[in-house]
Symmetry: C2
Subunit: 779 residues, 2 copies
């Protein structure tokens, strides 16, 4: 009984923790002072005004309205109330599709949980295998798990068919076998349906989108060098010849590393200048503000701040020179370009076709939206790209295999005795009892925790080295790596024990059927461990997500000490975005756990279900009120999500085979083997059916949009619209990161003259966009 | 010593056999009576006249010129003399590229053989491991194989680095390790170079091709049903809207199963009619020829032959009706079509892009040339296609796993005692001593031989069920299946023993490292077996190929008994074609053997080398003089050839790892593991670099050809040219199978009127093409 009680206690504690977080959040979010932390999205959109600038002094910081406290949990229905189309309008399809991953989890696991609890628990509980076998220690959880079902001790006889029938009639395992199939079929059904829905939504989203530069543009890479022409001329000639009816214009990519540094420097100086000027203007009777020229304004000579920054900014006019140099220097032009077409149809054709018979040059792909571009990777040659991928594959294998070595090394260093040796002056402190226990209890774990915290960053860095050209693809790649890490080190690592390399060694030194049996044997035992994991990592993680402790602290810290101008405050707000590369693999881990344990330890399922429901509400709230997505890919990640759920499903099916092979119910293996094969086939069918909708822009849809546009806006000057859409942000003075920066081009009445001089003259020009909504919202 | 002697004897016998075949061929080919068997290609081209129709009676059948007999082997230099560009002109790129597979083999294995014999044989021979170990029986071949090298018996010590160095310095295996890398690098180098050459040749070939309908056409499948429009109208509207500048015309696909039967029947009747008419006209003084109405003209009433066939042919005017019915019946129209465009550019765009957002409808692909189409598979729905592929994958697994079961069953039946029981009246014959030994010696093997002979047909049938739409892709798919069969059942099956399923069972019940060791241990022992196999199957097979025993016998049989008209004789000629689906996997098997044994048993290499050299000469001769290819795919199979050599290379590298892991030279495994990984990476790089050239039609090349054509033939009526290019052959009276049938359309002055009536009126119309060369030859 103790075991079940333990779980329940643990559940109680975790629920209380989560509830505590929720209450804290409910109270904090009502305080006006935290408004920018909990509702930054509305600020970014310009809909919400700053509450700190109105009302009495106290009211600015603390909410005194009692009514709002009574209804402190009403953010939950509020989060759920917004209908999906509006959500897509408000937060983009990426966010809405991300939320659907949780819905997918709920849809998959709700019926499975009900069925599993209703059928398997009685089936398992009404046996007495564990009671009979005296020497085995067992808990309540084991009693309702598959371990309690007696293995059908069939006599070996030659009549195989008879044996199968006997097995079917006599054994209770047939229930588990049937349910395993039922669960797989249900999961596939939901997956198919969800894939279809998301694909439809994506197509609707793309169809209803306003005009966007990326619809007309194609990213061309690996432009071959030409002895007689500049890169720009070469591109123009090539596309004029090979897409004569559709080619409109192009924008070469510049190497702007030096310029980027200057731009950042200038921005910082300008910001300080504005700060001191504001300060002076507010209190002109006071003496002019001063600053120090040294490190962070803390050291060095004291000078007049306004004058100092004015001259410093003027000095940086070399930035303009650098800009001109880059624009005119052929060495700074990289062999890549954004080529724009007269119609979406033309762009779709160019993106999907092969241009040259040499498949390593003139590589075209659908251009990412301007915000989504990862500029540094645009000009990697073909062979180098392949070498980078190979190296990163090897590096990733080394990482998942040997990541424990440096951690173990740090842990040895963090050992009390070693610490005493290395830093003898700490001896008296360390030897105090409480400190000692803290060090012994926490320090060894901290190295691992830190590693796991920086792991997503390492993986992102690896993806960047691999050479992907858009932030969205970088996110997707990092997510794939992280999922593999979780699957191997957190899932299999916990079941089989050991890192990837140790597992591999064990796998090669054992017969694969034996290996499968080992996993099958340990899997049910780990059920309770994973239940605890779900509560500690899942539930508490979600609760911590909504309270935004780090951004809250950072905002208040920055607001108090660093914020100098209104722009600074805007930036201190830091709404963050959905960390797809980190969050999605974690969700997939819970999916995997649910699928694996659905037949083995049904008790785990309700915990998964609570996780999905809770996470759904919380993330829906965050998406509506907080996150500000850096890009909009139109749910381009869904094929990966689908694939990873299928991987989880296949892993679970293989592990169930392993489990049954330990139970001496031989024929079950043959009954279960078709499952992973059929699932893989299902994956292939879905891939063929839906994936193209996420990769290509179908000509029919492109043509429809072109035709409609031609009818509604016959006088549109597309050249002006596209001219500078893909100019490197640094040429625009670093304003590209704001969503407005894209749409503003639309009303930019540029006269198309010589490109280079134009670009230089464009510097710093900024037009207020008419509406305040992002360019990715339905008009 | 016995073993080497045995091999040499066997080699002598096989060489003598092969030489016998060659002499027989040299004599037979000089006889005018066999001219149509050994030079059919020239007849088909119309360049060679029938020698039987001139000269004296004896000279018609036997060559009496003594000089030709003296130079009886001069076909060999003649075969080698034709330069490659001319060969491509003469026989097409498919044949020329096929020949290059042998060249590839020679290029890979000649340096490897030299190096291996020069380095490894001394290295192996100068040891005395086998002499020392008294209990082991060994042969001369083993003495020069890797088995004779002493295993470095290193003391286990903790200093790993030191151990590696000690191993490097002390062991002779370092020679084998280095050579393994050298051979792999050399193979990859040659593969890369060959891939590049073939890709260049393909592009040149495509660029220099005359105008062909498939350059302008796209095969569209899965046209969705439309309630308001016919399939034809729907297609026309869809492409008019979505490819407005490029769409020209289209040709729907009809279901013509019934019509095909009628056409075949009519053709046979017409042939007989011509025969009897000729017979009567030659001897008009004789009575009119008679025939019998029953089975094969042997039974039934005796009637006047000419009258009888005239009325029978008239009766079959229902064929015309059926043709009209099919053309007008909307039920007979299948949801597939060949859509033609105004330019190659337009067709290339349509073939490479996705048309609809639903990826299961409006599927477009580059149209195969008209001869290459496999009409029956054009209208398989998307899901059915997937189900078929799944079923065939399972069926193929069953086939390679359990093919021995029915054969063993037949073998049991063929057992003498069982035969006596089943057919007691044969008892006296069977019990005769010679007959008995023949039955015991041959019958058990015959079932397996028959199975292996019909295996390619089974595999082709499976590929057809999978739903591929062109003969060339069917050939490629069958070749892939056959290669897998050979790899698993003939190669691994001989090393590990057992069918795929038994191997799989062994693999799962053993640790994979153990499994690898088992293979590594048995591999060197099988060297002599494979040497014999190369001689018996390879050398003799090639020699049998050139003598064309079966076509020779069939031709003379048909010529004597069945040939009634000149057209019959044409057909009896049966030049055959390169059986790519059967021959290519066999070549790959020899490649695999060469690569695997290059380090292990270098003595095998010269035998491989002789095979490749001999096969090269023979197939070059056959391609020049005999084969008449059914289609021309422009070496589209080369990526598969490349891939399979890489598979062979990786298999050999893994087996070498297995071999070394048995030799207690532990660190060798770690040295060798990067090999397969790097090879796989090399494969990926090559695939990305060259494969697109074999799959797509680059826009640049399409545009060049379009522009040239527009300049040289501004008045070309493309619509007339393309109108009937993709009409089902049965609508043309079954003449499509002749190469002329394609080009004749070019000068067909059709007035574009209503399609259906036109097609009916086209029946049987035939125009002589100007030149006699096929449409696939360079002009």
């Amino acid at each position: 009984m103790a075991d079940l009680l333990e779980i329940l206690t643990s559940a109680g504690i975790n629920l209380a923790t989560a509830l505590g977080f929720l209450v804290a959040f409910a109270l904090l979010r009502l305080q006006p002072i935290n408004d920018r932390v909990y509702f930054p999205k509305w600020y970014r959109k310009g809909i919400r005004g700053s509450p700190t600038s109105s009302g009495t002094f106290v009211k600015r910081f603390v909410n005194l309205d009692a009514m709002t406290y009574i209804k402190f949990l009403n953010w939950m229905p509020a989060a759920l109330r917004m209908p999906e189309p509006e959500l897509i309008d408000h937060a983009g399809l990426d966010s809405a599709a991300y939320i659907r991953i949780y819905v997918l989890g709920l849809k998959i696991f709700f019926p499975i949980t009900v069925l599993s609890l209703a059928v398997l628990i009685p089936l398992n509980y009404t046996n007495d295998t564990l009671e009979k076998s005296k020497e085995v220690e067992y808990s309540d959880i084991d009693k309702i798990s598959i371990s309690n079902v007696p293995t059908a001790s069939l006599k070996k006889c030659d009549d195989h068919t008879f044996q199968i029938w006997k097995f079917c009639l006599s054994s209770r395992f047939i229930g588990h076998l049937i349910l395993s199939y039922v669960f797989s079929i249900w999961t596939c059904f939901v997956l198919y349906h969800e894939y279809k829905t998301v694909a439809t939504k994506r197509l609707q989203f793309l169809a209803s989108q306003k005009r966007r530069p990326d619809q007309f543009s194609v990213l061309v890479r690996n432009v071959p060098p030409d002895p007689d022409e500049s890169v720009s001329e070469h591109i123009e000639h090539f596309f004029c010849v090979n897409h004569p009816n559709d080619y409109l214009t192009h924008q070469v990519v510049y190497n702007t590393n030096k310029l980027a540094k200057l731009v950042a420097q200038k921005k910082s100086l300008k910001n300080r200048f504005v700060y001191y000027q504001n300060k002076y203007e507010r209190n002109p009777e006071k003496s002019r503000p001063t600053t120090k020229t040294g490190f962070l304004g803390l050291l060095g000579d004291k000078v007049d701040a306004i004058d100092y920054y004015t001259t410093e900014i003027e000095k940086l006019s070399e930035e303009k020179k650098e800009r001109e140099r880059v624009a005119s220097d052929p060495e700074a032009i990289m062999p890549a370009a954004f080529v724009s077409f007269k119609s979406r149809w033309g762009a779709a054709v160019c993106a999907q076709t092969q241009q040259s018979s040499n498949a390593t040059i003139w590589l075209t792909e659908w251009a990412p939206e301007p915000r989504d571009i990862y500029w540094r990777n645009l000009s990697i040659p073909y062979v180098e790209l392949n070498v980078r991928k190979l190296l990163m594959a090897v590096a990733f294998f080394v990482l998942i295999s040997f990541f424990m070595i440096p951690i173990a090394f740090v842990q040895t260093l963090a050992n009390i005795d070693n610490l005493k040796k290395a830093l003898p002056f700490l001896k008296p402190i360390i030897e105090k009892c409480q400190v000692k226990s803290v060090i012994q209890g926490f320090l060894p774990g901290i190295a691992l925790k830190i590693f796991l915290a920086i792991l997503p960053m390492i993986l992102m860095l690896m993806s960047k080295i691999e050479g992907y050209t858009s932030l969205s693809s970088l996110d997707r790649r990092s997510a794939a790596k992280y999922y593999l890490f979780i699957l191997i080190n957190m899932f299999l690592g916990n079941i089989v024990a050991g890192t990837a390399f140790e597992q591999l060694e064990e796998f090669t030194s054992q017969a694969s059927s034996e290996y499968l049996k080992t996993i099958g044997r340990t899997m049910p035992m780990k059920g309770t461990f994973f239940i605890t994991y779900i509560m500690v990592d899942g539930w508490s993680g979600i609760a911590a997500e909504i309270i935004r402790l780090v951004p809250l602290a950072l905002y208040h810290f920055k607001n108090t000490f660093l914020v100098k101008t209104e722009q600074d405050r805007e930036e201190a707000m830091n709404p963050g975005s959905l960390a797809f590369a980190t969050n999605e693999p974690r969700i997939q881990f819970y999916m995997l756990l649910g699928l694996v344990y659905s037949v083995v330890t049904p008790l785990l399922l309700p915990f998964i279900l609570i996780f999905f429901a809770f996470a759904y509400v919380v993330f829906r709230h965050q998406i509506i009120n907080v996150y500000d997505q850096k890009y909009e890919s139109g749910a381009a990640f869904w094929p990966r999500v689908h694939m990873r759920v299928i991987i989880g499903l296949i892993v679970s099916q293989v592990l169930v085979i392993g489990l049954f092979s330990t139970l001496d119910v031989h024929y079950s293996t043959y009954i279960l083997i078709p499952q992973p094969i059929l699932t893989f086939w299902f994956y292939r069918v879905c891939k063929g059916r839906f994936e193209p909708a996420f990769v290509t822009f179908p000509l029919q849809d492109a043509m429809v949009k072109d035709t409609v546009e031609r009818a509604t806006e016959p006088t549109l000057n597309l050249l002006a619209y596209l001219k500078d859409a893909y100019v490197h942000p640094d040429f625009k003075g670093g304003e590209m990161y704001k969503p407005e920066a894209i749409d503003e081009e639309e009303r930019n009445p540029l006269v198309p003259t010589k490109r280079t001089s134009q670009m230089a003259s464009q510097t710093g020009s900024k037009h207020e966009s008419e509406g305040s909504e992002g360019p990715f919202l339905k008009s």
